[in-house]
Assembly symmetry: C2
Homo-oligomer: 139 residues x 2
């Protein structure tokens, strides 16, 4: 279930998925259990306008094809659940992207990193300093 893109626009899951896909993954990950297509469709309805059942089904089955969801056929209906937890997913993406960023931009990214941390949450600067110390100590 390799991701392909990190989008500049949007936030959260919308960085990785299409808008409908993102809403669906959000629901699946929030419910922590296994849901049927119907379940997901109804939860979507709470949010906004009605979504066609077939639309939801198609998107969910495509997520299965991509290895993001797992599908278990049970008599009448099928149960879907994410292959990995949201935390594991985010962990993977963060790791992958951070590595790619460094490989691609090297020292340029280092400079920007400090600025970004200072801008978003200066507390992270201390955390980073700490981590560096630990890393260097272990060598």
């Amino acid at each position: 279930m390799k991701m392909h893109n990190f989008k500049y626009e949007g936030s959260g899951l919308n960085r990785f998925f299409g808008p409908l896909e993102a809403k669906i993954m959000e629901i699946l990950w929030n419910e922590a259990g296994e849901l049927t297509i119907k379940d997901v469709q109804l939860k979507l309805d709470n949010d906004a306008k009605s979504n066609n059942f077939n639309t939801v089904m198609t998107v969910m089955n495509r997520l299965v094809d991509k290895g993001i969801l797992q599908k278990k056929s049970v008599a009448r209906s099928s149960l879907y659940r994410p292959v990995v937890t949201k935390e594991a997913f985010m962990e993977t993406q963060s790791k992958e992207l951070t590595l790619d960023l460094i490989e691609e931009f090297g020292s340029l990214a280092v400079t920007h990193m400090v600025d970004a941390l200072d801008k978003v949450d200066p507390g992270l600067l201390d955390q980073l300093e700490q981590k560096i110390k630990e890393m260097k100590k272990d060598r």
Copy 2:
């Protein structure tokens, strides 16, 4: 000329552009001057198999539409050149992506950053440490 995606696959300009677009931008940026479509087409031929003139033109004009290239009509032919230097482009992307990464992943990214630096080029760890010190001093 807002970019939309950062691709997990590939490297260099292929992270931001399609394969042909990337080759074209590479040529434009390397030549530092203004090139005609023909120029670009010929340079592409050095690399690999022949590219249809119209193909190159279409892609280049799309890059103009996207605000990445600038086009100057001169009598018979047109001259194309990048709107910004490669360095400026990379600078912008690095900054944007780094900020997005931090906004999206916060402390998760901080941890991965240290690992990534250690893995790719440990010297960058010292550089980062230095930058943090400077940043904190200025406050």
